[in-house]
């Protein structure tokens, strides 16, 4: 009985907090930046083996199954944020929640550092180069307030500081799924709804074309 009351009280107390919850608990303040800088990729490699991350992410962060997610060479800051978001349930995925549930911040940082140190994906798929898609990528669409994808995701799709992920070499299906999740509000760990806003304005066809463009091999730097 006491336990039920305690749980119910806890739930009731959580309600106002849950209502005002930020989309992600992760902030790139001095402490987090320091944590990431001092993370150890060797420890991360060990953790990756223990966690059997290779099952979905490949031995070196690049999978040969196009339904998987390539994470090799992504910034450690981005990977860390996603791992923390999975752990905090800011980003909803049962499998990733289970994998991250019992890891502390140091371990998450080490894992991120390990995958960041790997060579990014070079997988090649069909590449669309129609003018409309290129325009979206490098110019955007002022009418829909869409900015050039390249402005945040980099001219070569290699991403930007902290939480602008690399898109180049990612599996197109994953990109399509992710954009669809943003579009429908199923994924909401993008701070200030930056990607939700973008995805809402894009059509399904545009999402597919963009995914095919970024999924193709872009030259490594």
């Amino acid at each position: 009985m006491k336990r039920i009351i305690a749980v119910l009280t806890g739930v009731v107390l959580c309600i106002p907090v849950a209502w005002a919850e930020p989309s992600s608990e992760v902030a790139f303040d001095v402490a987090t930046v320091k944590l990431l800088r001092e993370a150890d990729p060797t420890r991360g490699e060990v953790l990756a083996k223990e966690g059997k991350c290779a099952k979905c992410h490949g031995d070196a962060g690049v999978s040969d199954d196009s339904d998987d997610v390539n994470i090799a060479g992504m910034r450690s800051s981005y990977l860390f944020k996603q791992l923390k978001d999975y752990q905090n349930k800011s980003r909803d995925d049962r499998d990733m929640f289970k994998k991250t549930r019992n890891l502390d911040d140091q371990q998450l940082a080490d894992l991120s550092a390990w995958y960041a140190s790997l060579v990014p994906s070079q997988s090649a798929t069909d590449q669309t180069t129609d003018a409309a898609t290129l325009k979206l990528i490098f110019h955007g669409d002022p009418k829909r307030l869409l900015k050039a994808c390249a402005s945040c995701h980099g001219w070569r799709g290699r991403g930007g500081q902290f939480d602008h992920p690399a898109l180049a070499g990612q599996f197109p299906q994953y990109l399509i799924d992710t954009m669809t999740e943003f579009k429908e509000g199923d994924r909401s760990n993008d701070i200030y709804a930056r990607m939700r806003d973008v995805a809402e304005s894009l059509t399904e066809e545009e999402i597919e074309n963009l995914a095919r463009y970024y999924g193709a091999a872009l030259p490594a730097e």
């Binding site: 790139f28 009418k143 050039a148 001219w155």
Partner: protein, 540 residues
């Protein structure tokens, strides 16, 4: 020149400046073409912003500092008829500055210092950029020391005599530069270098911008002083006349020294972290610093009128036509004064406190400083070069008519480049953009001015090449220059005894220090009295 002691030092400094100039001019041409996607294959923000950063550093820090130093060495030795105080130290300063430029060039040219010539944090450049910039400035401090020492030695050897106006102005500039560079020196030494090396984690952007603003205004007077010195001391004689008033020249230089340093907040009008009371105080100083420029305008035009009338010009404006329009110094001076009128007017708008909100960080600003700096100041740098090269090299100028054409082309190109920019700013085009992915209505409205910008840029680049070619060919000219004396203008009325206040800087330096403390003391201290949050490094 009487004193050949500084000839090669002077030429070396000015050549470094002009080499920087021609490289930067080429980059400028690339920038105006790239902007409207004329050649889609060229589109690359990485390349564009690396170019803008390099262009800005070369034009605003390298061309200027080395020109000032080169002209300063030539002026000091020729006007005082005295050897350099410490030639090895001056050469060391030159090499230190050159090494600094080369060190900073590495990251700049490889896209690792695309932080623009204002390098506002928290965008972080490679540490070599900041260290190179520091070396450039420290080298220039050695020039300052040389100027001050030469004037001091001369005064000791000529007690009671009047320091020649050209040297008075040059020393005023040296003192000005030292005091104004302290701001950026503090920002770079205490904040940016340790932060870019990872020794400190964060930088307080408000403090950094406040320190930079300390330097940011008076640095333009550091650049402008040689132009004014040439207008006062070389132009009247080149035009065939006299300097209207030597005293007013001194007063103008002193007013510039005192009022230009502690007024940097008109660069921070739009920033939140300074209270508007301080901004108002700086605004008052900013309007006061317009007065010596207005005085200079009068004195120089009056001097030109004397020359024109001496040459037979009659009537209200007839003296203008009678001036020697075949003399590069005269042409440059008149074109400089015309551009000063436009640019100065724009400056008064920028200084106008809350009205600044309408132009801040728009292309109006880009138009303003290109007109007043690349126009008025730099055209006088050309004039100084055309005047001094024969005297420093001992060879006649390769082609006077080419020089005249080059100056006119620069003037016309500058107006075509900058006047549309002012208009673009008023209709809201932001600054420092590499393309225009905005509403179609904006982009279409901006296009005509953008085409004008390209036209202006092309004319300017051609003019820049003409200048370098002319100076380069002068070295190998078979015709020797017989008149190696720098001929300083005689004042209309000779002054028997110059008041001490107009012959030295002791009191004025004190005033500068007091005014600087009053204008910047609390505004800087506040950052240490309140809890501030610094920012970690950000890549571009």
């Amino acid at each position: 020149m009487n004193q050949s002691n500084a000839t090669s030092l002077s030429l070396a400094n000015m050549w470094v400046g002009f080499i920087a100039f021609i490289v930067a001019a080429l980059l400028g041409l690339y920038q105006v073409i790239e902007r409207i996607d004329l050649i889609p294959g060229l589109k690359s923000p990485e390349l564009y912003f690396a170019s803008v950063s390099t262009h800005g550093v070369l034009m605003a820090f390298v061309l200027t500092t080395f020109l000032v130093m080169g002209y300063g060495y030539a002026t000091a030795t020729s006007s005082l008829k005295q050897d350099l105080w410490n030639k090895p130290l001056s050469w060391f300063g030159f090499w230190l500055s050159v090494a600094g430029v080369l060190l900073a060039a590495g990251p700049l040219l490889t896209g690792n210092a695309s932080v623009l010539y204002t390098f506002y944090p928290p965008l972080k450049a490679h540490p070599a950029f900041y260290i190179g910039a520091t070396m450039l400035v420290v080298g220039s401090w050695l020039w300052c020391l040389e100027m001050v020492m030469m004037m001091a030695i001369w005064k000791k050897a000529h007690p009671g005599e009047t320091v020649p106006l050209a040297m008075f102005g040059t020393t005023a500039n040296a003192i000005l530069w030292f005091f104004t560079s302290l701001g950026v020196a503090a920002e770079v030494l205490f904040q940016l270098i340790p932060w870019s090396l990872g020794i400190i984690e964060t930088v307080d952007v408000g403090l950094a911008r406040t320190l930079f603003s300390w330097t940011l205004h008076a640095i333009v007077y550091f650049w402008l002083f040689p132009a004014y010195i040439a207008l006062y001391t070389l132009l009247p004689r080149a035009a065939g006349g006299r300097l209207f008033s030597d005293q007013m020249g001194r007063i103008a230089f002193i007013m510039l020294l005192v009022f230009s340093v502690p007024i940097g907040f008109h660069h921070l009008y739009m920033d939140p972290f300074q209270a508007d009371g301080w901004k108002f105080l700086h605004m008052i100083g900013t309007f006061m610093v317009a007065v010596p420029t207005l005085i200079t305008g009068f004195t120089i035009i009056a001097s030109l009128e004397i020359a024109g009338r001496l040459r037979g010009g009659k009537g209200l404006f007839g003296w203008i036509a009678a001036l020697p329009w075949g003399n590069p110094m005269v042409v440059a001076a008149i074109l400089a004064l015309l551009m000063l009128t436009f640019g100065g007017f724009g400056g008064m708008i920028n200084a106008s406190y809350a009205m600044n909100v309408m132009v801040h960080n728009t292309q109006w600003i880009t138009g303003h400083f290109h007109l007043i700096f690349a126009g008025t100041t730099v055209i006088m740098y050309f004039a100084i070069a055309y005047y001094l090269w024969p005297k420093l090299t001992g060879r006649q100028l390769h082609s006077t008519s080419l020089a005249i054409k080059q100056l006119w082309l620069w003037f016309i190109g500058m107006l075509i480049l900058t006047l549309p920019w002012h208009q673009l700013g008023l209709v809201g085009q932001p600054r420092r953009i590499s393309s225009t992915p905005y509403d179609e209505s904006f982009v279409q409205a901006w296009l005509p001015a953008e085409y004008a910008m390209i036209a202006g840029g092309c004319l300017l680049f051609i003019s820049a090449v003409m200048l370098i070619y002319n100076l380069y060919r002068t070295h190998g000219n078979s015709q020797a220059e017989t008149n190696l004396e720098v001929e300083y203008a005689e004042p209309l009325h000779s002054v028997q005894r110059m008041p001490k206040l107009l012959n030295g800087f002791g009191f004025w330096v004190l005033l500068v220090v007091v005014y600087l403390l009053a204008s910047y003391g609390y505004p800087i201290a506040q950052f240490f009295l309140m809890d501030t949050y610094g920012t970690v490094p950000w890549s571009i």
